[in-house]
Subunit: 210 residues, 4 copies
DNA sequence: TATGAATGAGAGTTCATTCAT
DNA sequence: CATGAATGAACTCTCATTCAT
């Protein structure tokens, strides 16, 4: 968020007692929902607290500013997404490593599962945040690494630069998540499989095209 | 009560003489630039008119409101994009029709050329507008039509639903335009070719994968 | 577009604690005074809050808009006036009902007392409001009813339509209130007596005129 | 008008040629209509010129300001009304002077005829103008003079002060003009007769009341 | 005689944020 | 732990008025 930098945190974060922790959480959820639904600028602090059934000053008991909650949500999305990706390493099986494609497929599926179970955060981190580009860039780089790996195994012949491919794939993911996954048109698994298949095999019946 | 008799200053939208037309255009360009750079909410009417070297009231001489200019810009983008797509039908050559893929490739290239020469509008119509989804949906449908055509010529074996493919492709376009095309990393033609190749042939060297 | 999610700050009209109630009242009084003194359009919200010793946003804590306070004041005038009229029914005395004229006289006096003790509201409801006509019309009808009553007791011979008489009387009231009563030239009681006498007996010494 | 004093006239009034004179008149009529219909503040210069089919600068060719036209219209009303009253002196007939009542009746009728044929001006001068009070005061004084005259002829026994009676009468006139005369419910003559009869004879059948 | 184009000045309203309790 | 009450700072939009032609 570059919206309105204010400088260092002041010592709020009073989330000591149980009640405080709970209030903070309610605010966080309310904020996520409101931001996801209405965007950053049309979400008013007043509606966040209304949804959380707290007063406006209470909001500032737990967050430095409207910008700050937003940033926190984005950060949550970013780090959890990172975690999901990291945790999705397939274990070796019977001493044999999985192919990079299996790995990719599995990683995508894990991501999609995460997106599906956190639609508000996803909307915020992927669409709304000014940092969305950075987040997606990380994704691009992660994917590129996997692709290069497979390429080194000489399974990819494509003369399209892998970086471009990753960009394409991330674009695809981005859209498909919002138009297919979140509305529940398709399961995370199907989506992962379909996308990987498309990117690997392409559409053509005979491989002489273009 | 209802005291307010609105009804506009004097029917708005003068643009009779050349000077007026020019001012309106300056405002339109300034607005496009500001919106594209800062987004809708952080763009102030004051900065638009500053960039256009006019006073604030002048703005309201030519546009009903800040919302209205924005909508006008979006509409421009939408209709011109539509026109570009429609005008990109390849003519028959030597009595033989072009393949749907050539057609797709050519259409993409035309679109990319349009995007490249109108980056501000593109940013507005594709990212910023609440109507962006509608616009992209039109695009999805247009592309799906082309793909189905090719499919009926039985050049596509893919068992992935064509609608899903279109969605994927549009996602790709969307991203690639902003990360590669607009920053000038790649020419419209290269981009079109690469994308079509990727979607048609896929990445794999031998077609037994996944 | 429709970006604006209005929906009010936080449901408005707090006035929970005593302090809030008091502020709201101060604003209401200030508004009444300003409107009465300067009229609707020349009264600025800024002068209302200045008089109430509050900031501009505080105004919108208690009222939806400048229009809204005005309407509220008008409504107060209208309803209280109605109440005054209703409450001014003379009780039976010694088993004998009062004559309609006594009743009229008494009602007028009550009204005048109300006007005299609420000059600002009176100015607003009688002069300034676009609804002033409705309010006066109610008054005309109320008075007409009393007059008809007396007429049925065959105390009135006049061949002037009672409706016209009521209109005349209301016109008289309206003016006399502002030129005589509010400036303190005459007491409510004197005024009521004089007017009724005038309307009942007329000016002429011998009743053969005109 | 105290609205916005601006100081002395500048030398505009270019109404030399016939066309100029006509434009000025069109503006004046348009202004009267707009002011009468919508009031001073809700009438915009832009709507006046729209109605007059001229441009905004043209307006300032003929009038110093919005305030100025309004004042001019009020002044027209005031002076013409004065003239009507002065011209309504009944001539002696057969050497015998008319009674003051006949005179009053005739004067009222003339006034009503004037009002009826100039509804816009009447609305402006009687209702809208801040000077309305002065104008009505003049009227009160004129009427009071007539009444006193009749009183001296000892035709009036009333112990109600003649000044108060005049005030009452003017109030009556004011209202009745707008609710009965201008909407065309009653002719100027009938109105004059009815009012005078009411004020002279009163409502009562037998003169012992109150 | 008239107008297209432009503006200074200000009004109402909103919102994130804080004070006092 | 929480809130009722209040505000500074902006922002959009309007309107009478003028400049240049």
């Amino acid at each position: 968020m570059k919206r309105n930098r204010k400088g260092g945190y002041h010592t709020l974060a009073r989330e000591k007692g149980a009640k405080g922790k709970e209030s903070r959480l309610r605010l966080l959820h309310a904020a996520a929902k409101q931001f996801a639904t209405h965007g950053f600028y049309t979400t008013k602090v007043s509606s966040i607290v209304a949804e959380a059934k707290l007063s406006q000053p209470a909001f500032y008991l737990y967050f430095e500013s409207k910008d700050a909650v937003f940033e926190e949500l984005v950060e949550m999305f970013r780090s959890r997404l990172q975690a999901v990706i990291n945790d999705s390493q397939l274990p070796e099986q019977n001493g044999a490593k999985h192919s990079a494609l299996d790995q990719l497929c599995h990683t995508l599926q894990s991501m999609f599962e995460y997106f599906y179970s956190h639609p508000d955060l996803t909307r915020i981190g992927f669409y709304l945040s000014p940092d969305a580009n950075d987040i997606k860039l990380e994704l691009v780089q992660g994917i590129e690494k996997m692709l290069r790996h497979e390429q080194q195994n000489s399974n990819f012949a494509s003369d399209i630069p892998m970086n471009l491919v990753s960009e394409c794939l991330v674009g695809t993911i981005e859209r498909i998540v919002f138009t297919q996954l979140l509305p529940g048109q398709i399961t995370p698994e199907e989506l992962a499989v379909n996308i990987v298949r498309l990117y690997v095999s392409g559409l053509a019946r005979n491989q002489s095209k273009v």
